[in-house]
Amino acid sequence: MISLDFPAVLVEWPLLLKGAAATLALTAVRATVGMVLGVACAWARTYGGAALKFAVGAYVEAIRNTPFIVQLFFLFFGLPSLGVKLSPEFASVLAMVVNLGAYASEIVRAGISATPRGQIEAAQSLALSPAQVFTRVVLPPALKRVWPAMVSQIIIVMLGSAVCGQISTQELSYAANLIQSRNFRAFESFIIATLMYLVLSIAVRRLLHWVGPRFIFGR
């Protein structure tokens, strides 16, 4: 007879909550840094010289065509043999930033390339410097155009961050694993963790759609 015992998992709520908070914190850090990296790469691929374009293009393709878990293992297990030792948390954040940066750069680039030529010419004729043209005229509408895609990508990377539990970063999936190894309630603890991820992804999506127009590119 199958018997479910959800309370046995729910009494461990401090662990679950801490895990969810860690997942959110990791997401916040790498969404911010990853987006900045993405914008920088998009800038390099649009305006940079040939060598820079090639280098950034290679980076983007390398990241987009390999699984996140392999990138993470490479950073966490591979780099120490070169003498670079990373903590699990730092390796997780670094891997996610590198990962999101590549995807974000493609997304932002699509937005930039859709900028009408006349707007750039108008800005130039007002004697704005190239940097001003990029940050004031090209970037904000570009981000606005691609914001839905960007939000989806941030969510995808947040869900991908469940893998970081594998290198003992103490986030939500790690908490679920810990709980099920304590009380052997695998079914219940994974259901609860999965539902928490669902709630997190819906909440973060709402939040980002609220934050975007107010703080990032203006209405």
Binding site: P67, I69, F74, L159, S173, N177, S201
Partner: protein, 216 residues
């Protein structure tokens, strides 16, 4: 510690690639079939089916694939259902793929102009005929590039099956890295093999997309 030459490492990894490929194909074909069924159910507007499928899609797109695999592998076995790592990975990836593909294809069907539906129903075609002769061919043209693009996601998704102990490319890489103490070389080779698998598909998807937009 085992002495492994670079050749031994790459040979073992190459042997493991076939499992990655097999798992990807299974998930892609199975997911495609289920996705198609869900799509037809959605288009036919069977009563009560829309919220169910929307929930299904939200569930698989809104939760980590890793959790879905854990749930199938550890969760079901704690209920007394013994599932092998291979079965759990195949089922998990198939469901995951079906949720994404049905959503992608729904967008493609919606992109077909409404007049096409009206015209074909004015010609007294039933739903099956409409889909077969009018809507299907037009939607298919739009659907191919994103579907091929999603194949890359499936191949990358199979890497997560390593976590539940299915010996595909990533798991084999971990095993070899643990045996040889050469994680840097091994994971670089693993990443390279994934790249060799995925990059041609990405290029293919991109060229399909360019062709599609060229014809407009």
């Amino acid at each position: 510690m085992v002495e492994f030459s670079l050749w031994d490492i790459s040979r073992n990894l190459l042997m493991a690639v076939r499992w990655t490929v097999l798992l990807s194909l299974m998930a892609f074909v199975g997911g495609g079939l289920i996705g198609l069924l869900l799509l037809v159910a959605r288009i036919a507007r069977w009563r009560g089916v829309e919220p169910l499928i929307a929930g299904y899609v939200q569930l698989f797109q809104g939760t980590p694939l890793l959790m879905q695999l854990f749930f199938l592998f550890f969760g079901l076995s704690s209920l007394g259902l013994q599932v092998s790592a291979w079965t759990a990975a195949a089922i998990g990836l198939t469901l995951y793929t079906s949720a994404f593909l049905t959503e992608i294809w729904r967008g493609c069907v919606n992109s077909v102009a409404k007049g096409q539906w009206e015209a074909s129903s004015a010609l007294a075609l039933n739903l099956g005929e409409q889909l077969r002769y009018v809507i299907g061919p037009q939607a298919l043209k739009v659907a191919v590039p994103p579907t091929v693009g999603f194949l890359v996601q499936v191949v990358k998704g199979t890497a997560l099956a390593s976590v539940i102990g299915f010996a595909e490319l990533t798991k084999t890489g971990t095993t070899i890295a643990n045996a040889t103490f050469k994680p840097f070389t091994v994971y670089a080779c693993v990443a390279l093999l994934y790249f060799v698998l995925c990059f041609p598909i990405s290029l293919w998807a991109r060229s399909l997309e360019r062709k599609l937009h060229g014809h407009r």
